[in-house]
């Protein structure tokens, strides 16, 4: 994220400037390691370093609510969602951005929460499958997955649903090929793809109607 040539303002917003990055990655230890003038300059300018096992406060906007947690710099958004906040719809499948089980929306776009550091997500609108619920009722995409049986074991399902939601927000009337492409970042080992396509098409139909 943010590594797409976006302007400085956007990068600042993402907390991905060199300054922000250094702050979290422990300028203190770096100063010791580097030693020279550059390292000292960093150390003077920044907060004290944080070692693994210690946390810094990170405030996350998740499904419209603000959550502040003490997070290590290396903690992923997925880890914070699941193990710190108990939001377990996003699943852990590979921890390296290959399966999409952890897909969430960040500012309306599908993102792998396992490849997003918690601190990167600060200041952005994060949505998980829990946030698609309308009260205790399933949201539209969720209803379509239930109706068309766009799932089997269900482990990849919340991620598939978030990918579908992100696709439909960007393209409310996708063609079959656009659905296939839009869902191709999410693996389903049960192989429910044909039913997943039906579910996304059904959700698009209801969104239009």
């Amino acid at each position: 994220m943010g590594a797409d040539g976006s302007d400085d303002r956007t990068r600042e917003r993402w907390g991905l400037t060199r300054r922000g990055f250094m702050k979290f990655w422990g300028a203190g230890s770096m100063a010791v390691a580097v030693g020279g003038a550059a390292g000292q300059a960093v150390a003077r300018e920044e907060e004290p370093g944080v070692a693994p096992g210690e946390g810094l406060p990170v405030t996350l906007d998740i499904n419209g609510r603000q959550h502040t947690v003490l997070a290590e710099a290396r903690w992923t958004l997925l880890y914070v969602l699941r193990e710190e906040l108990g939001l377990t719809a996003a699943k852990m499948g590979c921890e390296r951005g290959e399966c999409g089980s952890c897909t969430v929306l960040i500012d309306n776009a599908p993102r792998y929460a396992c490849l997003t550091l918690a601190m990167e997500a600060e200041g952005h609108g994060i949505e998980t499958a829990e946030g698609l619920m309308e009260g205790e009722q399933l949201g539209q995409v969720q209803q379509s997955f239930a109706k068309e049986d766009g799932l089997q074991c269900g482990y990849c399902t919340p991620g598939q649903i978030m990918a579908a939601e992100g696709l439909l927000r960007k393209n409310p009337d996708p063609s079959f090929d656009e659905i296939r492409l839009g869902m191709s970042g999410n693996l389903c080992r049960c192989g429910a793809y044909a039913h997943i396509f039906n579910a996304v098409a059904d959700a698009a139909k209801h969104r239009k109607g």
């Binding site: 390296r96 089980s101 499958a129 399933l138 049986d149 074991c153 039913h195």
Partner: protein, 772 residues
């Protein structure tokens, strides 16, 4: 669904003769109101909302995170382990290894082979060396990196054919043969003499890995001497017995819960070392421990479909009658015995009629992880060989591939003493599939398309299958309880591994008791609170559990009828069960279930079902056929799957929606086996090259056929059991890869003997064809 009739009558009863068993059998359902329809899952809400709690979602107060250190070499002896640095790290609660007192129990690699949880000699990459418990998975990973292990690297062998050579490094002292077996019927030599055409080909299938989306693992908690395990598993009772055995605990001290689980495909029929390590860590630190494998570890250590090399010799008369089948198969268990050739020859000896059959199997040890069962073990590999060989034979005989198969349909299971099949499912699948696919027209159209100039060549192919289990059987116990307000609770031990078991069973209850499936409360997959079931595997869950659920309902109904007879003052025989009420046959008198006085007093009425034995003299077997159309780019070797149709005869269709789900899922998995997946063990190092999903290619949304059609044979196999249903989950994936390979052959005229069929292998073969 608005377009569905109120009752389903389209499932003719097949071979409607009464069962031979001594026990009186209840009548099958002549008409059904619920069964056979498209029914969204009873737990669709939990699965789609994200509220379903999978074992990896479990977070307990005080819980810490476990992790396992794996050996980085395929064959190595451990000289020393130093865990002191890891133990001193902040956030590390415990470290255990072979050096830790009371933390290295015996580990049963197989029925015959016992080793240690942390062995001194590691015979495969990823073998457990030590385990840690720490405040987070991050700290646990730091701790693993801080453990100093000195290894003595030893020579290794990773290829099963190389392992059979005389100078190959020995995996075990007594050599690299894990087992051999053979089978003979008739006389193959005479059969080959009678043949007008003899064909011999060798096929090879790469090892395929199950790699379910939820990694293998568990959360464990001790309460005194009682252990609770939340495990991602296909069978809680199997995990209970394994954990109890290794930790030497009574079964009543081990509770295993696994109601939701994120896929297994055979690899979660058993537990793993992680559960034992987690329990040992948790006991030392008096805290719950969550221990899930990393994705890399699931690929390294949590099972595979063994690689296989198969040589197949077929003989046939000019009219297509098979006169001889000879099959030689080599497979690899891995470092310990694990069924490396399990069921590998079954399709060769059982699918088509042939009097003269000889098979030989050799299971081999290699320095790689043990195999685990993988959706239709053996059958998927054999189908790749058998169905391509049949296709080649049809061409040699100038016969239609469907016609050749129809010519050789057996009346019974030849590998099981010719016991007659209860249905003519193979013929039905072939005929209905060919018709629904438009087989003959599609063949002609593809042939015409290939005459064109373009580099895109179309082809069609097909393959058939049976599956020797899929009949189910005892033991299984199910409880159905009715509460005072006439609502129902279903209690069964079986796991719903994504196949829709809970929904299918709720539909059986609904059919029998006249209640709404969604209103049924279901408890399942918990050894403390639910009844015994074998693991969900072998396509036997529906045929095992559905009749048992029905039996429990029938017993419950019986009790309710007794209650109604007493209350109404009429004979029991005068009463009929009519949904939410029981009434006299003439309709003049009746009582609503919720108004039954005995039910209101007793609060709960229960029926118990137990699975009865299957009739002994028949073969209860599911059948399948698949037809597909492909397009091959002869410049790039790229393969496009245009459409694929699956016909299945698995007895009664319980839920058409999840039935179709199984078909599309099985086809997808077959696409993976045939075209994208292969384990690659590095030559110089013996290490797994593709231990992530970037390099180990599962089929994605872009790899599956644009059109997958499910065409069930709707019949009721009355001899099978009192529901008339057989297993489906495995037959749906057996023929896929062979059908694709046959379609590729049709398209480009070269036969791909090895999996996977991908641009590299296709282009390679096309180039060779050009040269010769």
């Amino acid at each position: 669904m608005a377009d569905e009739p109120d009752t389903i009558e389209g499932q003719p009863r097949y071979h409607g003769a009464p069962e031979a068993g001594a026990e009186a059998q209840p009548e099958g359902w002549a008409h059904t109101r619920v069964i056979g329809k498209r029914r969204p899952r009873v737990d669709a809400y939990e699965r789609a909302s994200g509220s379903a709690v999978y074992p990896s979602d479990v977070v307990l107060p005080g819980m810490v995170h476990g992790a396992i250190l794996g050996c980085p070499y395929p064959n190595a002896r451990i000289r020393s382990i130093d865990t002191s640095e890891a133990e001193a790290m902040a956030g590390v609660y415990a470290v255990i290894s072979a050096n830790t007192p009371d933390a290295n129990p015996d580990w049963p690699y197989s029925e015959e082979e016992t080793g240690k949880l942390f062995p001194a000699h590691c015979r495969f990459e990823g073998e457990a060396v030590a385990a840690v418990a720490a405040s987070s998975p991050y700290v646990a990973a730091d701790a693993l990196r801080a453990i100093q292990v000195e290894y003595e690297e030893l020579p290794f062998v990773s290829d099963e054919l190389a392992a059979l050579e005389a100078d190959a490094p020995a995996v075990h002292a007594d050599g690299n043969k894990a087992g051999t077996s053979s089978y003979v019927r008739g006389n193959v030599d005479i059969g080959l003499d009678e043949a007008a055409v003899v064909l011999e080909e060798t096929y090879r299938t790469a090892s395929e890995m199950q790699t379910p989306l939820e990694p293998h693992g568990c959360v464990v908690r001790w309460d005194g001497d009682r252990l609770t395990v939340w495990e991602s598993t296909q069978g809680v009772y199997a995990v209970q017995s394994e954990v109890a055995e290794v930790l030497d605990l009574p079964l009543s001290r081990v509770r295993v819960i696994g109601d939701y689980m994120g896929g297994g495909f055979g690899s979660k029929l058993q537990t793993g070392k992680y559960a034992i390590a987690a329990a040992l860590l948790a006991r030392r630190i008096n805290r719950p421990v969550k221990c899930f494998m990393t994705r890399e570890q699931t690929l390294l250590t949590m099972g595979n479909r063994p690689p296989s090399t198969m040589t197949l010799k077929l003989g046939a008369r000019r009219d297509g009658t098979l006169t001889a089948i000879e099959f030689k198969g080599i497979g690899a268990s891995g470092a310990y015995s694990a069924g490396g050739t399990s069921l590998l020859d079954w399709l060769a000896k059982d699918l088509y009629r042939c009097d003269n059959v000889r098979t030989e199997l050799t299971d081999v040890y290699i320095h790689a992880q043990q195999a685990r069962p993988f959706r239709a073990p053996g059958y998927v590999q054999c189908s790749w060989a058998m169905e391509q060989a049949m296709d080649a034979l049809a061409e040699r005989l100038d016969m239609d591939p469907v016609a050749l198969r129809l010519k050789n349909i057996p009346a019974g299971s030849q590998a099981r003493d010719d016991k007659p099949y209860t249905t003519d499912g193979l013929r039905l699948c072939l005929e209905k599939g060919a018709e629904a696919f438009g087989w003959e027209r599609a063949r002609a159209e593809a042939a015409a398309q290939r005459q064109g100039e373009g580099h895109l060549k179309r082809g069609v192919g097909m393959a058939a299958a049976n599956w020797f289990v899929g009949d189910g059987g005892p033991p299984s116990t199910v409880m159905v309880r009715m509460f005072a307000d006439a609502t129902v609770n279903l209690n069964m031990g079986a796991s719903d591994i994504g196949t829709g078991t809970k929904t299918a069973m709720a539909m059986v209850v609904a059919e029998e008791l006249g209640v709404d499936p969604d209103a049924i409360q279901i408890e399942h997959a918990d050894t403390a609170t639910t009844q015994f079931a074998t693991p969900s595997g072998g396509s036997k869950t529906v045929p095992t559990e559905a009749p048992t659920v029905r039996r429990a309902c029938l017993e419950l109904k019986d009790r309710l009828m007794e209650m109604a007879a007493g209350q109404l003052g009429v004979e029991r025989e005068q009463l009929v069960f009519a949904g939410d009420r029981i009434r006299t046959a003439d309709g003049n008198d009746g009582v609503r279930l919720r108004d039954l006085e005995s039910l209101r007093t007793q609060k709960v009425v229960m029926g118990i079902g137990q699975r009865q034995h299957n009739p002994p003299d028949v073969s209860i077997t599911p059948f399948a056929a698949q037809f597909c159309e492909v397009e091959v780019n002869t410049l790039t070797g790229e393969l496009r799957l245009i459409r694929l149709l699956g016909t299945n005869e698995s007895g009664r269709v319980i839920n058409r929606l999840t039935w179709d789900g199984q078909v599309v899922g099985g086809v997808t998995m077959g696409v993976g086996f045939g075209t994208t997946e292969q384990r690659v063990l590095d030559g110089p190092t013996g290490k797994l090259c593709n231990k992530n999903w970037h390099d180990y290619k599962l089929p994605t949304a872009l790899d599956v056929p644009a059109e997958v059609i499910s065409e069930p044979i709707t019949l009721t196999d009355e001899q099978a059991n009192i529901v008339g249903a057989k297993g489906l989950g495995e037959p749906v994936t057996i023929p896929t890869a062979g059908a694709i390979a046959n379609a590729v052959y049709d398209a480009i005229g070269v036969r791909l003997h090895n999996t996977p069929v991908n641009p590299v292998t296709v282009v390679d073969r096309l180039d060779n064809r050009t040269e010769t």
